[in-house]
């Protein structure tokens, strides 16, 4: 296992120490717990707080989206582990400015149970809490069972949209509404080429043959829809785009934002080769591209692989997507 680390048990805490040391003017922590990350500086009066949380090992997910025009706090779990309800509660208390807090997180059992517990506890402390659970991986459950779908890279769009809305001092209900709209408009599908290793486990949690790929695999190695020989990248994109396009469906005349996400070890060179084919297909389908995000937005440590996400835009989503935003892991000028 070739990782830069000291003791595997301290992997997450040392990572957070590094992050806080590198960005002391941007990030801080609450309740004397390094794993309760919040935006540094003063709270904006009357602004809805947005909190997320989830396992480590997915940088820039989740804490990387705590920043201006984005999220206000993040409870950080162990590698691929949910943070605790306690930690979520502490983040909630630290970021609430009276306007309530929206939880946005991915559709995973452990996270749901803990955010449910945290929401119950927060309500006992008189903090208004609403929840939006993101799940857009079309490979993880068939159409009609959208509620069972895993949340993957597309959650970035939900953060961006909700963050912009909250920044404009919209109400908790309004922020929740646009977050739900973003969820409803986004679809993702991925493909994995190699596994990754959880530091404390020390060996891959699954194997994949030397010339194999798995289409639809989740970011923790959850099974996909097809394992087979590694195809040419254009053929892979053909398969992925077919599933994504017919799922929402995305139609002629639609305008989309495209996210091509690298899972970790896959170089940017390859992501652009993938995007080339995505763009050709969209062009053929008469779907126009408003803008693109190509890089690492939700990873699985050193896993090789990629995913494609489409967000169907309307005027409101486009306006919210375009606004300036910045965190130590993501910077966007006004589009």
């Amino acid at each position: 296992m070739k990782k830069f680390m000291n003791d595997p048990e301290h992997f997450v805490d040392e990572m957070i120490e590094g992050i806080l040391a590198a960005h002391p003017d941007k990030l801080a922590y609450a309740a004397d717990d390094l794993r309760c990350i919040i935006k540094a500086g003063n709270k904006k009066k009357g602004k809805v707080g947005i909190a997320t949380g989830g396992g480590s090992g997915h940088l820039p997910l989740f804490l990387g989206y705590v920043g201006e025009g984005l999220l206000d706090g993040c409870a950080v779990g162990g590698v691929f582990q949910s943070p605790s309800a306690d930690q979520m509660l502490e983040v909630t208390k630290a970021i609430d400015s009276g306007a309530g807090v929206l939880y946005i997180y991915g559709n995973y059992g452990g996270d749901i149970m803990n955010f449910d517990m945290a929401a119950e506890m927060a309500e006992m402390e008189d903090i208004k809490v609403q929840q939006v659970v993101a799940g857009e991986d079309v490979a993880s459950a068939p159409k009609g069972e959208e509620g069972k779908r895993r949340g993957v890279a597309g959650i970035f769009f939900v953060y961006k949209i909700a963050g912009a809305m909250a920044d404009a001092l919209a109400s908790l209900e309004e922020v929740k509404r646009v977050a739900q709209k973003a969820c409803a408009h986004v679809r993702t599908m991925g493909v994995a080429l190699t596994p990754c290793i959880v530091p404390e486990v020390g060996r891959p949690s699954f194997t994949i043959g030397d010339n194999e790929m798995e289409i639809g695999m989740g970011i923790h190695g959850e099974p996909g829809i097809h394992r087979g020989p590694l195809l040419k990248s254009d053929e892979i994109i053909d398969q992925i785009m077919k599933r994504i396009l017919e799922d929402l469906p995305y139609k002629k005349g639609d305008e989309v934002s495209v996210l091509v996400n690298g899972l970790g070890a896959t170089p940017k060179e390859e992501l652009y080769i993938l995007y080339r084919k995505v763009q050709q297909i969209l062009k053929k389908e008469g779907i126009s591209v408003y803008n693109t995000y190509i890089g690492e937005f939700a990873t699985s440590m050193e896993m090789a692989g990629a995913s494609v996400s489409l967000l169907k835009l309307d005027d409101e989503l486009k306006r919210l997507l375009s606004s300036q935003a910045s965190s130590p892991f993501f910077a966007q000028f006004q589009l």
Partner: protein
């Protein structure tokens, strides 16, 4: 042994930690097959935290101690199973109230609340290939033993048999929850990691009271 007192509970928690440590790799393997492979680590963490809490706490009432164990587990191991276990301990502890020791009836009440807490938190039900499928039969068997005025030793022995039967039956179920659900039909015939934890939980009780 006719009843479990506060020191028995401390010993059982210690034994649970030892058992989970010993089964660490086995649970990792089971959870790797249809999950993320962390179950051995989280159970080891959860029960280490519970044992530490049991040793640290000066609590003299079983119910109160069990709630504290649940809170310690929730902090230490907030995975699916850790959170469910924690919920079980907290609900179970609350259910038995201020009694000073547990006989068949109190243990049955504890286990029943334990299982219901998990069902509520996990929004699941028996038959979905989860920890419930070993714990629920065990709890039902204890309730039956109470009705039949069985001794603690007998009750637990029967519960262990029921849990083992549940384990076997769960192997043929199709997973509906958590990561394993993504495996759909191919989960049938495979052993559920969480159900195994449930069985180990009863096994430690059984070994202690045997």
């Amino acid at each position: 042994m006719e009843r479990l007192n506060i020191e028995d509970i401390r010993s059982i928690v210690r034994n649970l930690k030892i058992k989970m440590d010993a089964k660490r790799d086995y649970l990792i393997e089971l959870d790797s097959a249809m999950g993320d492979g962390d179950l051995g680590i989280t159970m080891s963490k959860a029960f280490t935290a519970a044992k530490d809490e049991a040793e640290r706490s000066a609590e003299i009432l079983p119910g109160k101690l069990l709630i504290k164990l649940g809170m310690a587990m929730a902090k230490a191991a907030p995975s699916t199973m850790g959170t469910l276990m924690a919920t079980g301990y907290m609900r179970g502890g609350k259910a038995i109230g201020d009694i000073e020791s547990l006989g068949t009836g109190e243990l049955a009440g504890f286990m029943d609340a334990f299982v219901n807490g998990i069902l509520e938190r996990g929004k699941s039900k028996p038959g979905n290939k989860t920890i419930i499928d070993t714990l629920y039969p065990a709890a039902q068997s204890l309730l039956q033993a109470q009705r039949n005025n069985k001794s603690l030793k007998e009750g637990i022995a029967e519960a262990y048999t029921a849990a083992n039967r549940g384990m076997e039956e769960s192997n043929q179920m199709k997973a509906q929850h958590g990561r394993a659900a993504y495996y759909q039909d191919s989960s049938i015939g495979k052993q559920d990691a969480g159900a195994t934890v449930g069985l180990l939980f009863i096994e430690v009780l059984y070994e202690y009271c045997r």
